[in-house]
């Protein structure tokens, strides 16, 4: 939330160096990126160890990571969108509904005009949902959660009604699904790293080569990198590009500053001439647009059609990533990656899901070690018990029931929120109804 990390105080006092501000800024960002990279390496290390022990090679195959990426995109997009509205002070639990709008319009436009049109109209559909939420919460001052829930109830009804009147029985669609979309969005292998074509010349597949070497840790990292650079859809590339773009927009532009100020102290912002209502509207509409994109992505990248219930609660998971991403883009992306990975494993095979029990036991065990190191005995005890539980489960069973895998991400969220030591800082005025003229 701080644009600038806290510099040594003395430096600031005497500070006349004009480069300091730039430096301080990028230092904060760099530190966070470094932290996330380290975290990713620890996760890969745990996975690699698990793979060595259990022989569940799927765990770190590029295919798994590729699927994880595709599955992470809709969740991450929704979480990223949520940053825009929550930073502006609007809690948006209606993202699930907006995502449903995205799937329907994505399906309809994809069928009528093609996949990219599907994405475009899906975005617009989601944005319309965001506009509705802004109208209720900002103009009429309705409780944000109440309005969001209402949108979540409204959206499936609208989608169903629209399906009934738009997809005639002869078209291949019906009340609960659309006809197939016309085409798919192109995919690409990045050159050099994943063997992509460059002007007709086939470049080397570096990460693929590394992955095939089957070296401990190195090949696992290779699998990770190959997975997220190969066979990647342009829509996914666009979505990933929105992460740094969102950061830049929110933390480096004047509109972004105004948006964040509305979520921190709207009265102060208004007293300085910031149009708080406008900023909140824009933030909420953008969040709807992101959710709509996420919905359309589900249509174009997975099913190829609109289906009722296609969103499967991903809007809510997006919200969860917002929270444990601490209302920051990179954090949200990391959370989305976690969920995407859990989802991907479930789709691939039972053995790797079972192996994940061991990985979770190791991960939580690591947390326990950290807690002991910090002399936080209560936490150490709680985490040790959980780690031991997973370990026992791993040793005593051969498979994990399908239904359990289905809610793994949700359980993970609860565990992370319940065990995390990190102080989460939500925007100060988040969720509070603001009425114009309070700046008196």
């Amino acid at each position: 939330m701080t644009l600038v990390a806290r510099p040594p105080r003395a430096g600031g006092r005497t500070g006349s160096s004009t480069d300091e501000i730039e430096e301080v800024q990028s230092r904060g960002v760099r530190a966070r990126l470094l932290r996330y990279t380290l975290l990713a390496l620890v996760v890969v290390a745990i996975l690699a160890t698990t793979r060595e022990i259990t022989g569940a090679d799927e765990l770190t195959r590029s295919g798994t990571f590729g699927a994880a990426l595709r599955l992470a995109v809709p969740i991450g997009l929704t979480g990223m969108g949520a940053i825009y509205c929550e930073r502006a002070g609007v809690v948006n639990i209606g993202l699930e509904g907006m995502m449903i709008f995205g799937t329907w319009f994505g399906g309809w436009a994809g069928w009528q005009y093609g996949a990219w049109w599907g994405i475009g109209l899906g975005i617009l559909g989601g944005a319309a949902g965001g506009l509705l939420h802004a109208l209720a919460t900002v103009t009429f001052g309705v409780n944000h959660i109440v309005s969001g829930v209402a949108i979540n109830i409204l959206a499936p009804g609208v989608a169903r009604y629209l399906s009934v009147i738009s997809f005639s029985p002869g078209s291949g669609g019906g009340a609960s699904q659309s006809p197939p979309i016309r085409n798919v969005i192109g995919r690409v292998n990045l050159p050099f790293v994943a063997g992509g074509d460059l002007f007709g010349w086939r470049s080397p597949d570096m990460f693929g080569w590394l992955e095939r070497k089957r070296w401990f840790m190195l090949s696992d990292v290779g699998g990770l990198l190959r997975g997220i650079t190969g066979e990647i859809s342009w829509a996914a590339i666009l979505a990933i590009a929105l992460v740094p773009l969102s950061f830049w927009f929110l933390w480096r532009t004047s509109f972004g500053l105004r948006l964040r100020s509305a979520g921190e102290n709207p009265a102060a912002a208004e007293s300085l001439g910031v149009s708080v209502y406008l900023v909140k509207y824009v933030g909420t509409v953008i969040s709807g647009a992101f959710a709509g994109f996420a919905g359309a992505f589900l249509v174009t990248e997975f099913a190829g059609i609109y289906q009722e219930g296609q969103t499967g609660g991903r809007g809510f998971i997006g919200l969860a990533t917002l929270i444990f991403g601490n209302w920051r883009p990179v954090g949200v992306a990391a959370g989305a990656a976690l969920f995407g990975f859990a989802d991907a494993l479930q789709l691939r095979n039972d053995a790797s899901v079972h192996a994940m029990l061991l990985a979770v036991a190791m991960g939580v065990g690591l947390l326990a070690a950290v807690a002991v190191f910090r002399r936080n005995l209560g936490m150490a005890l709680a985490t040790s018990i959980i780690a031991a539980g997973f370990l026992v489960w791993f040793l005593m069973s051969d498979t994990v029931p399908r239904q359990f895998v289905f809610f793994t991400p949700h359980l993970t969220t609860l565990l992370v929120l319940g065990l995390s030591r990190r102080r989460l800082r939500m925007p100060t005025a988040d969720g509070l109804v603001y009425r114009k003229g309070e700046a008196t």
Binding site: I93, L132, A136, F140, G141, V142, N143, I145, V146, S147, V149, A150, I151, N152, I153, L154, A155, P156, G157, V158, R160, Y161, S163, V164, I165, A175, G313, F316, L319, A320, I323, P401, R402, Q403, F404, F406, F407, H410, L411, T413, L414, L417, G418, T440
Partner: protein, 380 residues
Amino acid sequence: MNVWSRRLRRFAIGLLGPVVAIGFALALSAVILKISGHDPWQAFRAMYDYGKTRASIISMLNRSIPYYITGLAVAIGFKMNLFNIGVEGQYRLAAVIAAWAGAAVKFPAPIHVLFIIAVAAAVGASLGGITAILKVTRNVHEVITSIMLNTISTGLAAYLLAAHFAQKNKPGDLIIKTKEIPESGWFPSLNGLLSRIGIELPIGSNLQGFIVVAVLLGVAYYFLVWRTRFGYDLRASGINPFAAEASGVDPNRMVVTTLLLSGGVAGLAGLSQVLGFFHRYTIDFPTGLGFTGIGIALLGRNHPVGIAFGSLLFAFLERSAQVLDLEGVPKEIVVIMQGVMILSIVIAYEVVHRLVEIQERKAVVEATHEAPPGMEVAAA
């Protein structure tokens, strides 16, 4: 006299919100119907004619039972400004476990029913309890926890049903279900009572006896919230937790108690079906009741009578929509109507609330010739 006229006015103002919202929802659905080439008047007419038949009324009453109970469950939380969005998972897991437990034991009739009710309430309450504990000890927002718990309990319910509770079906019967509950565990219908007072039901219609439980829950809810000190503490914590705390309310205990109660009530929502209709849990058990319950609590302003109206209205819409297909109108229009109603009602309440607030300040200024708060001025 003065008090009564003021109460009457407040009542009238209170009605304004729902009337405006329902009117708006009807108008908007009419426009949508018109645009998609149907005659709204004819559609509404058909719904009304079909909805007023005796069979429809019985069906509507039966449908309204789970809505009413979920509405109450949500309202308990709302009264304390807690959002128990987890009703969905709570009633589903409660229904599957209660149905299994009910089929596994054999008690004399009333005890058997009470046992099943107790199991369901306990399951719902324990899910509510998890939400509460995470909120109190780890400061995790209840909305997040209950959203996660919804998926977890749905998955858990599916797992338990498939892996442990399902009976062995005869060949050809593909519906996964628990064993049937013995007859001592069924809740009797009210048909006998109705015929004794001269109301004969059409063949195949049963008024579920569980409606009595729902009504009792409503009465208990009213009494608890508006007539007891606990209810005062609950409402005070919802309005201003800091002031409530200073007045001696233990906020953490309040959160835990409220979520246990809310979850416990939510656990009962599926029982009218388990005890009075299916006599077991099956794979095609109704879903989505929890989310509808949120809408109904909003519609009824967390008041037991309002919630009753809300659940009857939703039940009426769903029942009478059955006729729309015959009229060539997509019955999905009703879902839009419900959604619009909820959204417009919260907006209407907010607008009415602001109008009332302005009125009240004016009244104070007139009565005291003093400046309202927020304007630091001299007394004239």
